[in-house]
């Protein structure tokens, strides 16, 4: 049995018109596995995460099934409450959002351990100190006595990670954990998350728009587009041999230093569909260089092609990302 098992998960938002943000997603995460969901803004990747831990906005509704260690998290009465911040820890893009501004960092961290595991306060504070050291913050003792605003953005994100780990989760949800940080700090925070997952035997579900961030640490990569997973594969297979035209386009459009010599950047024509758009055929068809009549008429299901699972009528065949 997988640690997290997502089956047919759908997220709808009500309002002037219904918007389907997540559309029948299946995804499973094994123990200690590190999975990255890559997608552009509006692809539904963050709502997928929030639905799993029961943190959708008030007008959001989830349907389908999400099982964590066998226990169902979707349904009436907030069944995810028991794992939120316990079995599943989470880190968001904006670290200041997950830390209370008016309480000392030590107290906030200790509280997480007390709430999740009923630790006694002294033991919880000692643990908080070890965790601050573990996320490589200098002068850990002083840090415990500080308030969030006294730290830089990169340091705050480390504190947020430490806070998420205080409950000893078996799965860490990280939504764009480095997007708000400077480039040199981004790399350090990803390296830190990588180390912590290894050392603590923790699984990771990382959500990001930046393929460059996940390339170095994910075991498996899923690409989301307009509410659907369009490709899922082991990271090495995906990065070397993407099968969905959208995946290939995304990979090719990441600017690197290797081919910096004034050549045009590869791009994907057009822009992602607006939330709530209606689709008949493939959602990527209007932007796809390989689109044919069938793509406009028929929504491609996920199917195995080579080492990937791909939702495309005309997947690429090992053409090395072109």
């Amino acid at each position: 049995m997988a640690l997290l098992e997502i089956r047919g998960l759908t997220v709808d938002f009500s309002g002037e018109r219904r918007i389907r943000a997540v559309d029948h997603i299946d995804l499973s995460i094994e123990r200690e596995e590190r999975v990255a969901i890559v997608g552009e803004s509006g692809s539904g990747k963050s709502q997928l995460l929030l639905a799993c831990i029961g943190l959708l906005a008030a007008n959001g509704r989830s349907a389908g099934s999400v099982r964590f260690d066998g226990a169902e998290l979707i349904g009436a009465g907030d069944p995810a409450a028991g794992v939120r911040g316990r079995g599943i820890g989470f880190v968001f893009q904006d670290a200041s959002g997950s830390l209370t501004p008016h309480r000392r960092i030590g107290d906030q961290l200790a509280e997480a351990a007390i709430a999740a595991r009923g630790c006694e306060r002294g033991a919880a504070l000692a643990e908080a100190l070890r965790m601050i050291e573990r996320v490589r913050l200098p002068d850990a003792r002083r840090c415990l006595a500080q308030y969030p605003h006294e730290l830089s953005g990169g340091m705050r994100q480390r504190v947020a990670i430490a806070a998420a780990l205080m409950s000893q989760p078996r799965l860490l949800f990280a939504d764009e954990p480095t997007t708000a940080l400077d480039v040199t700090v981004q790399a350090e925070v990803m390296t830190l998350i990588d180390e912590l997952c290894r050392d603590l035997g923790m699984a990771l579900l990382l959500v990001t728009h930046d393929i460059g961030v996940v390339a170095a640490l994910a075991d498996r990569i899923a690409v989301m587009y307009a509410g659907r997973i369009v490709e899922c594969a082991a990271a090495s297979a995906f990065l070397g041999d993407p099968r969905h035209p959208y995946s290939a386009g995304l990979l090719a459009s990441v600017p690197t230093l290797a081919d910096a010599h004034g050549t045009e950047l590869r791009t994907i024509a057009g822009s992602p569909p607006a939330p709530g758009s209606a689709f008949t055929g493939c959602r990527f068809e209007p932007r796809c260089p390989r689109a044919a009549a069938r793509c406009r008429a028929e929504d491609p299901p996920l199917a195995v092609h080579g080492r990937s699972t791909v939702a495309c009528h005309f997947p690429l065949r090992g053409e090395g990302g072109t």
Partner: protein, 332 residues
């Protein structure tokens, strides 16, 4: 060589609020030149002063010291009224299109607005013709002129902002993080558009970004800024192939490689507390606290920007020890 735009010793200071009330040099003694038709790259992280420098060029913040010359004339002391005439020549594109476009005005109206202010002789028909032409130039369909900002995608909005900057036929454009807020698949479209505009119009520009890979794509000459100062200036090839300043090396190492199986080259070092403050009058090299190559001298004496080989400039005491450039950090 004398550039179309020349900055000499430009310094911008901000007064900090609060009890301590210190003065921070956001831009500290920066000199640079941009030739006619050149796109100069400026790289650095948040808080390094790159945005303030761009704003200083456009007279949006006052200088504490230094001079700015445009086409041989000094422009930093002309005063707001006379600078207005220069607005036709010096334009800007900022990161957030929503901050540049009035949500209650149509795209066509926003794009035409600079014409109303800076070319009042032009009548409505003339303005409309210019708007149509400029929208085509930036790749926007003519019918978008009647839409409002919330009806456009992020990429379309940034194209509209670029159109608004170009409509007065400027000779220099300051582009501050023009693609940072965009999705990856759209980012490239805007980068390519800026490259084409520069080529076709022979426009001079300062391209400011934290992303070295994008700057390298567009600019043949690149400045690296750290804590308000230029720490390295070099051609794109020299900077990427043989960086002389340890900070440049760090920025290069932070650019992701999309190799399957490649691990990111990052030292898992603790953050230094000194990173977070801007100790203005410290005698040390501002990078010393986080520099893997720092020696005693770096903590007692600030290195000046000095000429290195091939017309490069670098502010590092030890740069002479690695004439072939700093190698990438070991895999970790």
């Amino acid at each position: 060589m004398s550039g179309a735009l020349e900055l000499r010793g430009v310094t911008v200071r901000y007064h900090q609020r609060g009890a301590h009330g210190g003065v921070v040099s956001a831009v500290d003694d920066v000199s640079l030149e941009i030739a006619d038709g050149e796109m100069l790259g400026l790289v650095g992280e948040s808080g390094c002063g790159k945005t303030t420098l761009g704003r200083a060029i456009l007279a949006l913040v006052p200088l504490a010291a230094g001079e700015i010359h445009w086409q041989g004339r000094r422009i930093d002391d002309v005063g707001a009224r006379r600078f207005r005439a220069l607005r036709r020549e010096l334009q800007f594109v900022f990161q957030d299109p929503n901050a540049c476009l009035d949500p209650r005005m149509t795209i066509g109206g926003s794009v035409a607005e600079p014409l109303r202010a800076l070319a009042p002789a032009l009548d409505a028909a003339g303005r409309e013709a210019r708007v149509t032409a400029i929208l085509a130039e930036v790749g926007l369909a003519p019918d978008l002129a009647g839409r409002y900002p919330h009806q456009l995608s992020g990429g379309q909005l940034q194209r509209a902002v670029i159109a608004r900057a170009l409509i007065v036929d400027p000779r220099l454009v300051v582009c501050d993080e023009p693609v940072s807020a965009l999705d990856v698949s759209v980012q490239g479209q805007i980068v390519n558009l800026l490259a084409r505009i520069r080529r076709e119009r022979g426009l001079a520009s300062l391209f400011i970004s934290h992303n070295l890979a994008i700057v390298a794509r567009l600019c043949e000459r690149i400045l690296v800024m750290y804590r308000g100062r230029i720490v390295e200036t070099a051609s794109r090839d020299a900077l990427i192939g043989a960086p002389l300043h340890p900070y440049t090396r760090e920025l290069l190492d932070a650019v992701p490689a999309i190799d399957p199986g490649a691990r990111r080259r990052v030292r898992a070092r603790p953050l230094d507390r000194a990173d977070t403050s801007l100790a203005a009058d410290s005698p040390a090299c501002p990078f010393a606290a986080r520099c893997p190559h720092a020696i005693a001298r770096c903590r007692s004496e600030r290195p000046l920007l000095q000429p290195a080989q091939d017309g490069r400039l670098v502010a590092c005491h030890r740069a002479g020890e690695w004439p072939a450039g700093l190698p990438p950090a070991a895999a970790g």
